[in-house]
Symmetry: C2
DNA sequence: CTGTTAGCGCCTTCAT
DNA sequence: ATGAAGGCGCTAACAG
């Protein structure tokens, strides 16, 4: 009962049963070569018989590392983040780390607390998708453990990050709409203070310049934060005299809001948007998505982080920036 | 640099600066009443100045509990599980616990290892969505820590679980189709060995009986595991001479596969399915979903678990079963 | 090849 | 109101 609470067997117990010292048990469990085959077997037998398991908490204390890395995301319910988490966990497991997950629930002000909390639990490194534009708390965190950023670059911080080809993807998708002859494309964007928001707008803009077409300023909406705000913004655009002939959305939730507005208005307009999503292929509307492998962002971030954790005692490497490629996919009519 | 690695300040350091013993620092940080206001302030000042943070690993070792609970799910990429995780985390945070997340990536055989791993890391309790039908490893786990099951009931285990109204939801949705006059409804189900698969079939069946209509055996498909298998099964049904006139799907991925098959076949058939999903409201097909609050499953499971953790030293409570209600929603034509 | 010593950082117990 | 001693379970460093 309540085994791990003072109950469970210790190395000492195992040693007693196997007639060796706790130290030898430790060596056996660590695969230390300097142990005779005979004792080795006796120890394993004792371990089995007692159902002994090494206490990782004690190990962490002794060794100074917990074998855990922390991941901080804003919203696990968004498939982008859950896939990212899967990627992180895949690589973490591969290298013998566990993942401690924290969700800031879109509240930027909670992020510093969550990070402190993870550090208190002796995570050996952190992967963070920064919520706001201030990153002072990340600088603080870096005094304790390595930090790698995902999806957004460091601002005044010297560390690694993994980014998506935001600019390139937005430019390519926009160029597709322009090539079809659209000259009045609405831009439905997340807050411009976010790196992704700014970059994707830049790509939208660049595609226009390259096509020699002036973007229509009146059709640019920024600061959309979820499907609801995107739906309202879209509806508002559709009610104007000078309507757009196509829409560009900067993320999956915005695309979904826009599509919902079109559906309710019983209108069809070509839509292009960042992030692929479930059923994008069966909507039956002209839809272009900028797709990329969110798992891969997590995997790469975990690799960069674990590398830094492993090099902990060496000179920290120069900060690296990895980019995950995007691919434009066209669905529908 | 690398603070928490032998670097960071300890209680001793704080004590030295505040001119008290480490013990007094411990008392202050614990809000122990027996400390004078003067020293209290000096200690806090020292804490601030050094940026001291209590080492949770050492605490865990000393206190015998890690303040963490483990959650084991099969597939974080499925919104059902990510929402469940959010619910767990919400309640865990509320009670001062952290959540350690493990993903078995649909590989039932990995589940025991993941669970052992979590127990080795001194989680104080576990929430598990059991993958397979064997639960022996859960019985083993229960010898160490309390375990609460989510979405599936215990099989030969004496513990709490949180379930969805599987039977009721399936019956109600099926009854809706029958009321519309359908007599040839296909059943597209996940493996019958899973509790949800069996219950939802039972509901499907019960609705038929109540309507005095014989289910068409030829139209029952079970063992579908993802959108791909569901799509193939649906296509196969559509190619038969005796086609169904409506479809019932037992989960979100199966619904999506079925919808994809219908789309590609350029056919429309009324679809009813368990689990709501993004954009279900804009597909423009007659769609009924059995919706429920997946977050709530996580919240309830976390409450049951934390209750057991808190009562650890008392007689364990009789096993409880909580049910989360379903709601049938109709979309589309 | 194996054992002893010491201590990671904290907190419970007992003393002052 | 505060401190000293001891130990949670484990392992690095040093014997032998």
């Amino acid at each position: 009962m309540t085994a791990r609470r003072g109950g469970g067997p210790t190395m000492h117990d195992v040693g007693k049963l196997a007639q060796v010292s706790a130290m030898t048990v430790s060596r056996v469990l660590k695969n230390d070569p300097g142990v005779s085959e005979a004792t080795r077997e006796r120890v394993f037998a004792a371990v089995d018989r007692l159902g002994y398991r090494r206490n990782q908490t004690a190990r962490s204390l002794r060794l100074g590392g917990s074998g855990m890395i922390g991941l901080v995301v804003t919203n696990l319910a968004n498939p982008f983040y859950s896939r990212l988490a899967l990627g992180v966990q895949e690589v973490a497991t591969e290298y013998g780390f566990r993942m401690l997950l924290s969700n800031s629930a879109e509240q930027a002000e909670r992020e510093p607390d969550l990070i402190d909390d993870l550090i208190d639990h002796s995570v050996e490194g952190l992967i963070v998708v920064p919520t706001g534009s201030r990153q002072q708390h990340l600088a603080d965190a870096m005094r304790h453990v390595p930090v790698v950023l995902a999806a957004r670059p460091p601002a005044g911080l010297d560390t690694d990050c993994v980014l998506v080809e935001d600019f390139h993807g937005a430019r390519e998708a926009t160029a597709g709409l322009l090539a079809e002859g659209h000259t009045r494309i609405a831009f439905l964007g997340n807050p411009p203070a976010l790196y992704t928001g700014a970059e994707r707008l830049r790509g939208f803009w660049a595609a226009h310049e390259e096509a020699g077409i002036e973007p229509v300023h009146d059709l640019i909406r920024q600061g959309l934060v979820d499907a609801g705000t995107a739906e309202r913004a879209t509806r508002e655009l559709l009610e104007r005299d000078a309507q757009p002939t196509a829409l560009f959305c900067t993320n999956n939730r915005i695309s979904q809001g826009a599509i919902r507005a079109l559906y309710k208005a019983e209108t069809t307009l070509p839509v292009a948007g960042f992030d692929d999503f479930d059923l994008s292929d069966v909507l039956g509307i002209p839809l272009t998505v900028v797709s990329y492998d969110a798992d891969e962002i997590g995997r790469q971030a975990a690799r960069l982080l674990i590398d830094r954790v492993a090099q902990r005692d060496a000179e920290p490497p120069a900060s690296r920036r990895v980019t995950v490629p995007t691919r434009v996919i066209r669905y529908g009519a």
